[in-house]
């Protein structure tokens, strides 16, 4: 076995300075005339320890982080140097190939991200060496109905948030009349605080292509689109390169692998509109229009892109398919709960000690996720709540921390599974201000097509702003609840229907904080600029500085 050094160079790694580390390692190896393979990989998931460097030798694997250019020499001297050096123990993340000594990585079960941080995303050979494009070979030998049955048996549910059974969706689209069908991958990861799709695409783009190929065969589609955010330039680049390689390898194009399947994928870059994550708005955007949603039904499966039957899933859903085909539906189903199979990736961020991408079996509790993997709150501060599903989701308070991460259990709390954003907040976050933050977002991202969302979110934001300034009365809270009801039941699309969720859940679990603002003009977390100080900017800054000192 050769010795390999891997440097994580996806967006998070680069932002932390991975490029300088890569150059330093390159220079070190050059100077030592060592024949060691230096590899650029995607993100291993432990973003809080970026830049990450993994050294794999015959005797095992050691993961270091955060690595700076100055730390490169002592670290590499340990492995290749003339004399053994000692390094600070906190530079080492894990000394095992399976990462069992580092729970954040060791307790993950990776179905869609096993190769992120392991292979060079620019290398098709790397993907092929890890069973790449084996699942599609197997798939092409089966009937489309058999493939759909396997997906159904795996209990795979749509990972975009709503959790519609994927196999059923594929079947509905397959059964539509007409020869022309489309499949779309929704990679418009608009939820602030979410980066699962970015990590998957940057780290292992071929898996998504293979998953889409499986869907194309099952559904009978000839053309696929990947709608990806323009804010992810590295992901777009990785996809373009992977599609080009797939063409050369013969898994995209005409008569793929001699099966008679014709399939091609085009990339559509989004242009910065949150509402385009909604499937009908997304299709309008692909068609070159303003990304406004339209009424459903008809659903895209029946009447989609340019009126043709269209299957829309998100990145993680498609990326689950290759592993399901290779390992069998029972294996996948058994990873999760009886109702939903497999794993779910989350972007664990906020006031958490270990932040990054985590993929865990569905059914794990929030406590395991936040404390065992996440290591609790930064600086040992008390855990207050966790927000799931971004602006469409809700807050789950500390007392419900034993909730299982499952579509149904999370829904019962008022939150949703969502696409995977998981933002942890500690006692320095004011829940009223937090709800106001989400409303500011949905209000500015509302496309303006329907009145409840356009006007309702604005009115809700107004009331929340009043509360945070200590200018509201208890009647305003009743009004707010009333508006929540109206906006969620009468809005046209998911954006408006779910916009009240952050308000509803914070009102449900943190009503005392709202009341402190309203009745005592007091912000328990010390965040809100309350009445009497509102117009005095100097005092506001002073208050903020005091909060910082307290932290």
């Amino acid at each position: 076995m050769t010795t390999t050094i891997r440097v994580g160079t996806s967006t998070c790694g680069l932002a932390a300075g991975a490029e300088a580390v890569y150059s330093a390692i390159d220079a070190y190896l050059h100077r030592r005339q060592q024949t060691i393979e230096l590899q650029r990989t995607g993100c291993l998931g432990a973003c809080h320890r970026e830049p990450l460097v993994e050294v794999i030798t015959d005797s095992g694997a050691t993961l270091y982080g955060p690595v700076t250019p100055e730390r490169v020499r002592p670290i590499l001297d340990q492995h290749f140097g003339p004399a053994a050096r000692t390094i600070a123990p906190d530079w080492v993340v894990s000394r095992r190939a399976d990462k069992a000594d580092y729970p954040f990585l060791g307790r993950q079960v990776k179905v869609t991200t096993p190769l992120c941080g392991v292979i060079d995303p620019a290398s098709l050979d790397d993907y092929l060496a890890h069973n790449g494009y084996q699942a599609i070979r197997q798939t092409l030998g089966m009937s489309p109905d058999a493939v759909i049955q396997i997906i159904k048996d795996s209990h795979l549910r749509g990972r975009g948030g709503a959790g519609f059974p994927a196999g059923l969706k594929w079947e509905i689209t397959r059964k539509q009349p007409g020869a022309l069908k489309y499949i779309i991958c929704n990679a418009d990861e608009g939820d602030p605080g979410a980066f699962m799709d970015r990590t998957m695409i940057e780290g292992d783009p071929h898996r998504l292509i293979e998953g889409m190929l499986i869907a194309a065969w099952a559904i009978g589609a000839t053309k696929g689109y990947i709608y990806v955010r323009a804010e992810y330039p590295l992901a777009v680049k990785a996809l373009r390169r992977a599609i080009q390689q797939a063409h050369e390898y013969g898994v995209l194009g005409k008569n793929i692998l001699g099966s008679g399947l014709d399939f091609d994928i085009a990339i559509k870059e989004g242009a910065g509109a949150f509402v385009c994550g909604e499937e009908t708005a997304l299709m309008h955007s692909i068609e070159g229009l303003r990304g406004m949603p339209s009424m459903r039904p008809p659903y895209p499966s029946e009447h989609g892109l340019w009126g043709y039957p269209t299957n829309i899933n998100n990145v993680e859903t498609y990326a689950s398919a290759p592993a399901i085909l290779l390992n069998g539906p029972t294996w996948f189903a058994n990873l999760g709960t009886p109702k939903s199979g497999g794993t779910k990736a989350f972007a664990l961020t906020g006031a958490i000690k270990n932040s990054g991408l985590v993929e865990v079996p569905i059914g794990m509790t929030l406590r395991e996720m936040i404390f065992d993997l996440g290591g609790g709150c930064k600086g040992g501060r008390p855990f207050k709540a966790v927000q799931l599903g971004g602006p469409s989701g809700g807050c789950i308070p500390a007392e419900l921390i034993d909730t299982h991460i499952d579509y149904e259990d999370l829904k019962a709390t008022g939150a949703i599974m969502g696409s995977g954003g998981m933002v942890v907040v500690d006692d320095t976050t004011c829940m009223v201000d937090f709800a106001r933050y989400f409303l500011t977002f949905t209000q500015s991202e509302s496309c303006g097509k329907c009145v409840p969302c356009r006007v309702g979110t604005r009115k809700m934001l107004g009331i929340l702003t009043h509360i945070t300034r200590g200018e509201a009365t208890t009647r305003d809270i009743d009004k707010l609840l009333d508006l929540c009801q109206t906006v969620s039941t009468t809005s046209l699309c998911g954006l408006g229907q779910t916009a009240p969720n952050p308000v509803l859940t914070t009102l449900r679990y943190f009503k005392d904080e709202y009341m402190a603002h309203v009745e005592d003009q007091r912000c328990p977390a010390g965040v809100c600029p309350l009445h009497g100080m509102a117009d005095d900017a100097a005092k506001m800054d002073e208050a903020a500085a005091q909060v910082e000192v307290a932290i």
Binding site: C12, E189, P192, G193, E269, L289, T349, A351, F441
Partner: protein
């Protein structure tokens, strides 16, 4: 007196002065030619144009409308719908403060406030010397490094209000040293 002249001169003026009669700039033509006849090309073309010019000049939009066969109103409608598109030329450094959830929880509002004060401009404005444009962005997807500030293509992670102002001031000093580039 001379109604004929009155009739003729504005028309002549119109045609002679119409910039769209002249062939588009070669780079513009290159972008348009690649996508002619594609009904879904509009957003892609606009993205490529913005990549090329840094913003969307009115004249280029008029060419796009004519070349792709859409009314200018529809082109304008699409441009104003999406946050990415800019109708005004940006400064040399586009400073984007991430307002994602993870950044918000880590107090990115303070960073925005300090940068605003330091540059003396509001969001979506450009400094009079065309050096800085300030924007906010919904989420850069680099949440584990929150709070994040992005300047052009470079991402700065784990920012504080003070560090962010330092970054801006360093760039301003750098620009003074080499004003030509």
């Amino acid at each position: 007196m001379s109604s004929q002249v009155k009739e003729a001169s504005p028309r002549r003026y119109f045609y002679q002065g119409d910039p769209l009669l002249a062939p588009p700039a070669p780079d513009l033509a290159l972008i348009l030619d690649r996508h002619k006849g594609q009904p879904d090309a509009l957003i892609t073309v606009l993205e490529e144009l913005q990549e090329h010019y840094g913003y969307l000049p009115r004249e280029a939009l008029e060419y796009v409308s004519r070349a792709l066969g859409f009314p200018l109103s529809r082109v304008y409608g699409v441009v104003t719908f999406y946050n990415l598109f800019q109708l005004n030329p940006p400064g040399r450094y586009v400073v984007r403060v991430c307002r994602g959830t993870a950044c918000h929880v880590n107090r990115s509002d303070e960073i925005l406030k300090k940068i605003k004060a330091s540059l003396g401009i509001k969001e979506d404005e450009t400094t009079p010397d065309h050096l800085f444009t300030l924007q906010t962005v919904a989420c850069m997807g680099a949440c584990s490094l929150a709070p994040v500030v992005v300047v052009n293509d470079r991402t700065y992670g784990r920012m504080t209000p003070e560090k962010a102002v330092d970054v801006v001031e360093e760039l301003a000093a750098e620009a003074k040293e080499e004003p030509s580039s």
